[in-house]
């Protein structure tokens, strides 16, 4: 048996990579990808906990998370397209006019 902690560490690493991507990447679509990575990391930890508790609840929640991730990806991409149309750029640093 692979111990629970292994799964959790993998999940944590994935989450960290995803967060790093959100903060550090200079392309809007790559940022969305990183958000997906974060969501999948969470899915992994849910399933792991579910498996080790002996129920299928973890997997049920994962369904919900994936549904939400899909919807959110659709909306996010629509926003990216709209943003691109105004600024001709996918760099998040190009959209700083709402400042003091």
């Amino acid at each position: 048996m692979i111990p629970l902690s292994h799964y959790l560490i993998v999940s944590m690493l994935l989450f960290a990579i995803g967060s790093a991507g959100v903060f550090l990447r200079k392309n809007l679509i790559t940022i969305l990808l990183s958000v997906e990575i974060m969501l999948n990391a969470v899915n992994l930890s849910f399933v792991a906990f579910g498996r080790f508790a002996g129920t299928v609840d973890g997997q049920i929640i994962t369904f919900f998370v994936m549904t939400v991730a899909a919807a959110e990806a659709a909306v996010g991409l629509a926003l990216v397209i709209a943003l691109f149309r105004t600024r001709e750029s996918l760099n998040p640093d190009a959209f700083t006019s709402l400042k003091w």
């Binding site: 903060f23 998040p92 640093d93 959209f95 700083t96 006019s97 400042k99 003091w100």
Partner: protein, 681 residues
């Protein structure tokens, strides 16, 4: 029925205040005088009723309503007439009515609305004064006390567009207020000690105590009451408002500042005779201050050049003598002098009003003279008033002044007697000076046309008529008082002669009716079983009737002779200087120039008060309270809150960088913090 006495003038006030503007002058003036006469009639009826009772039962009360009910503490509004109030209400309504009648002629040049306003204030004043003397407890008296102070302010500042008049009104009110504050403290003290503020209640409780040795709580309370009296009755140290009060119309000076309001302090002490008798320390202070004021005011009156100022200082001086009488325990003598003084002082003020009226606003005696042949009625009534004031035998002032001086001497206060006698000498001198300068000699008032006379401030002429005389041309002869004024002058002159005969002392074969009438008022109320405790030194000879020895009579006659000599001597001195040798006055003034300046500037009391009290208060208020507290602290706090918000928002808005990545980072950081906190716990 007693309630009618103050209510009638109050009704007059209401009518004139609300509708007076639209009423013609004859109606508003006539109505005001009518209510006063009706009040006089009711007062006379009450006194008649009182006189029909047995001497030690003379008391009529009328409970009106319960004013304050707070737990155990109740104050009822009750009116009370006893011999003392009887004298007061007759004086107030009687002389008040005469002055109202006089005013209808004197104020004739005012507009309809101003005329009505004047009479509304005058009626209000009478109403409050009557409340003051009819009240049966301190709070009711105090209502009247404050009310007359208010009316004094309103009437002194009647021509409020003139700055000096408005200032004088303010000064009177503020100085009165200081006295009233002390009066309130005295009332609190009395309540704390006795649990009641009814006059009869306090007298009963005090009668059971021995006279206080030394300066204890009771003495402090009565001293505070006396300080209140010094404010109202213009004694040292709070007399400074009375000379300035001459800015008001002359009938106002006659009514308020001669006959009635200023006598409130004397009345108050008389009303609480039993209480004051039990505090010999305070009585001593009262007597000394009375004598000192009499002397000081007498010396100032000697050199003043404004006819009304001389009379004002004379009033202060005579009030001093009244307080001297009250202070040595001669309550009846003090009230007797109050009674006679009301007549001749009102007469003198009204007479001076007639002179001012005739000369179209001239008030400086240096610009008068030779009026004897043009103003005969005014002249002769003024002379009678002056002789009465000086204390010439046969007229009213002689009997009353003599009685109080005799009582002072008899009780062992020889120094005070001497001061009082000297003040009387000064009275005779300055009244002689006033008469001779105003009426005798050659005409000095043929100054150019009234227009420039009004404008010539150099002569120190106060335009007491508010410019109403601009329309008169320059008369070749001044005209004597019109009928309404002349009638009043004559009635008061008769009073000045006859009023004294109510108190002819036993030494001269009389029965001192007034003293006997007043005596029960100064005795403690008779409680069941207890013998009546008579206040120390009761009214005149009434208490000592049986024990009148030949020695006392001869002492009295001697002193009578001395005061008559002083009075006549003073008039002769004045005649010598101001009729025959005018230059002598000027040369004496030049020789004793420092003293003359001191007297002319009223001992610089106003300047001293200004420098020591008014200026520091102003500075503290302006620099301390206004600049530091109001502008600095309060405004600073409010503005400070605003600027703090402003400053912090300037700093905080930099959080809005506009960069999405920064926002995401901060969200993440927040999540980490919150989770970390809960996990750590």
């Amino acid at each position: 029925m007693l309630a009618l006495i103050p209510l009638l003038p109050f009704a007059g006030f209401l009518i004139n205040a609300t509708m007076g503007r639209r009423l013609p002058k004859s109606v508003s003036g006539g109505l005001a005088s009518l209510v006063m006469l009706l009040s006089f009639a009711v007062s006379a009826m009450s006194v008649w009723q009182l006189a029909a009772m047995a001497p030690d039962q003379r008391l009529i009360t009328q409970a009106l309503y319960q004013w304050i009910a707070s737990g155990d503490f109740t104050i009822d509004v009750t009116l009370l007439v006893d011999p003392l109030s009887a004298v007061m209400i007759l004086v107030i309504t009687g002389i008040g009515s005469l002055i109202h009648i006089y005013s209808t002629a004197y104020m004739h040049d005012e507009t309809d609305s101003e005329f009505a306003r004047y009479f509304s204030y005058l009626n209000l004043f009478a109403s409050f004064m009557l409340v003051l003397v009819l009240g049966s407890s301190f709070p009711v008296l105090f209502v009247g006390w404050e009310g007359v102070g208010l009316c004094s302010y309103l009437l002194i500042g009647f021509w409020f567009k003139k700055k000096s008049a408005a200032d004088a009104g303010k000064k009177a009110f503020v100085v009165n207020r200081i006295g009233d504050y002390a009066f309130l403290l005295g009332m609190f003290g009395l309540f704390a000690m006795f649990g009641t503020l009814e006059f009869r209640g306090v007298a009963e409780k005090v009668a059971g105590l021995p006279p206080e040795a030394g300066f204890g709580l009771l003495s402090i309370a009565t001293l505070l009451l006396f300080v209140g009296a010094t404010g109202k009755s213009a004694q040292i140290p709070l007399f400074v408002w009375l000379p300035d009060a001459m800015e008001g119309p002359t009938p106002v000076s006659a009514l308020i500042h001669a006959a009635t309001m200023v006598t409130a302090g004397v009345y108050m002490i008389g009303r609480n005779a039993v209480l004051f008798s039990h505090t010999p320390e305070t009585m001593q202070i009262v007597a000394v201050i009375g004598a000192a004021t009499a002397l000081m005011a007498g010396t100032i009156g000697l050199v003043q050049n404004d006819i009304k100022r001389v009379l004002a200082y004379s009033t202060v001086s005579q009030l001093g003598l009244m307080f001297l009488a009250m202070g040595v325990g001669a309550f009846g003598a003090g009230i007797f002098h109050l009674f006679t003084h009301a007549f001749f002082k009102a007469l003198l003020f009204l007479g001076s009003g007639a002179v001012i009226h005739a000369l179209h606003g001239e008030q400086d005696v240096r610009n008068m003279g030779g009026l004897k042949k043009y103003l005969p009625v005014t002249y002769w009534t003024f002379v009678i008033g002056s002789l009465a004031l000086a204390g010439v035998p046969g007229l009213a002032g002689f009997f009353s002044k003599d009685e109080l001086l005799f009582e002072t001497f008899k009780d062992g206060h020889q120094i005070l007697w001497f001061v009082g006698a000297f003040a009387s000498l000064l009275t005779a001198i300055y009244m002689g000076r006033l008469v001779f300068l105003t009426f005798h000699g050659s005409r000095r008032h043929d100054a150019p046309a009234p227009v420039s006379a009004h404008a010539s401030a150099a002569h120190g002429a106060h335009d007491a008529h508010g410019g109403g005389h601009g329309g008169h041309g320059h008369d070749a002869h001044p005209h004597d008082a019109p009928p309404a004024m002349a009638f009043v002058l004559i009635v008061l002159a008769i009073g000045s002669v006859l009023a004294g005969y109510l108190g002819v002392p036993h030494g001269l074969g009389g029965h001192n009716e007034l003293g006997a009438w007043l005596a029960p008022s100064f005795a403690a109320p008779i409680t069941a079983g207890a013998a009546p405790v008579v206040a120390e030194g009761p009214a005149g000879e009434a208490g000592a009737e049986g024990a009148e020895g030949a020695e006392e009579t001869s002492l009295e006659l001697t002193l009578m002779g001395v005061s008559s000599a002083l009075a006549i001597g003073g008039i002769l001195i004045a005649g010598f200087i101001w009729i025959s040798r005018r230059a002598l006055a000027a040369s004496i003034a030049a020789r004793f120039a420092p003293i003359y300046t001191l007297l002319l500037h009223k001992y610089f009391v106003d300047e001293v008060y200004d420098a020591s009290i008014v200026r520091p208060l102003e500075t503290v208020s302006r620099e301390g309270l206004w600049r530091t507290v109001d502008v600095g602290l309060i405004d600073g706090a409010v503005n400070g809150v605003g600027s703090i918000v402003d400053g912090s928002s300037t700093v905080l808005r930099r959080l809005q960088t506009g960069s999405v990545r920064t926002y995401a980072g901060s969200i993440f950081a927040g999540v980490v913090l919150v989770l970390g906190y809960y996990l750590w716990r």
